[in-house]
């Protein structure tokens, strides 16, 4: 379970996250919605330890991310997929996927490569295993990003606007894979602007507004008249987002 208790994050005088409380149970898909600058990505970056907390605590399966040992343990349980892919540019696709399994999990190279190739098969990148990231399309790169995360066999998958840098066709490629993972019961914390997709795969939807978590409800309720749509801010957000 990911437990987020009273988390605060300040950059100088700017309060980016204000007393956020959130729990993600194993097997759940929790989508975080909100406009740009509402703190969605910062929340993900707090969970994976790229930002230090200004207040509160985050525990991943009981491991406090604000301690060095806790963070190391938390990072073995979760894996992140990034908006801009952040692949290692000097390594082939296969090397990108196997780096952490070999050097962090201590898997033998042959085993790591077999697993990696199986993952690449799954996302349709069998032929690209020995290519360098620069040779791939955005959609292909993000599929590699997903494989790199899955190769760690994480309990929690953290997805930070993973389709924001992709055109609609490539977005489709990536979302298909995420839908499959969701159906298989992968736990996900999903920051996105893909409202329709979020509606389809999420168990719960959380809405951030200017650093505050203003709504946390089941996906169905979020999109219903008496649930999320009854909140003026969310009604406005959804009408804007679905018009585009």
């Amino acid at each position: 379970m990911i437990e987020i208790n009273n988390v605060e994050k300040r950059f100088g005088s700017a309060e980016v996250l204000k007393r956020i409380n959130l729990k993600v149970e194993p097997g759940e898909v929790v989508t975080i919605l909100g406009s740009s600058g509402s703190g969605k990505s910062t929340l993900i970056r707090c969970i994976n330890g790229l930002e230090t907390l200004s207040g509160g605590a985050i525990r991943v399966d009981g491991n406090d991310v604000s301690t060095a040992a806790g963070l190391a343990a938390a990072r073995r349980r979760s894996a992140t997929v990034f908006q801009l892919f952040n692949l290692y540019p000097h390594m082939t696709v296969l090397q990108n996927v196997t780096l952490a399994p070999i050097h962090v999990l201590g898997q033998p190279r042959a085993e790591a490569e077999t697993r990696a190739r199986a993952l690449l098969d799954l996302v349709g990148l069998t032929a690209q295993a020995d290519a360098y990231p620069q040779r791939l399309s955005g959609g292909q790169r993000q599929r590699v990003g997903i494989c790199r995360a899955l190769a760690m066999q994480p309990r929690y998958l953290l997805l930070d606007e993973v389709t924001s840098a992709l055109d609609p066709e490539m977005t489709g490629e990536v979302l298909d894979i995420l839908a499959r993972l969701a159906a298989e019961g992968t736990t996900m914390v999903f920051v996105t602007h893909e409202i329709e997709f979020a509606r389809r795969i999420s168990d719960r939807i959380v809405f951030l507004e200017a650093g505050e978590l203003i709504v946390d409800m089941p996906a169905e309720a979020f999109f219903s008249e008496e649930g999320g749509l009854a909140v003026p801010r969310i009604r406005k957000f959804l009408s804007k987002m679905t018009k585009d």
Binding site: N86, Y88, P89, H90, L99, H103, P133, Q134
Partner: protein, 223 residues
Amino acid sequence: MIRSWNALEPHLGFLLEGFALTVAACVLAVAGAVVLGALIASLRTARSRAARAVAAVYCDLFRNVPFIVQLFFFFYGLPELGIYIGAFETGVLAMSIAGGAFVADVIRAGILSIEQGVIEAARVFGLGRWQIFSRIVMPNALRVSVRPMGSVLINLVLTSSILSTITVNELTGTAKIVAATTFMPFEVYAVLLVLYAALTYALSLAVAGVHRRLNRGMPEAVA
């Protein structure tokens, strides 16, 4: 003219001995400068303010003092401190230290050019600081900085001629002796010209090779 080339022949062996010493000094100093430069560059980009300060002072100090002054400083200064090493070793040490300051600057530029997100990915996936430095930061920094580093290293090779001023009979040192004994400075220095050019050309080929290897998979325009 032809007679004068013939007159040089008995001294060729001596000149080649000098050349061998130059090659030895350069190989050691290039290795030393690269290792030291990588170390200083990593300090210059470290989190610790003290580490950054030490590295910055190092670079400024050794880039802003003429090499011959540094060389004399070590050659005459080290014995004063009770450190007795040979002239050749002193020369290699001074070249490594001076070259390291320039190499550090070039590698630092390479480190700063790495996308922060790539390093963040490595951190999130649980790689340790040393693993990130050796497996992510350095390979990416070097792919950018290996070419400018080539110019620095070629300069370092040319600088090795100054070792002749501290009794090291490398190529320039032997040439001075041969020129003085044969009274044929033009011919002697023509030989030198060819040998130095060959040495630096070999180095630039090696640098180009390393650059190609590090930039596998990059678009042609960059590679």
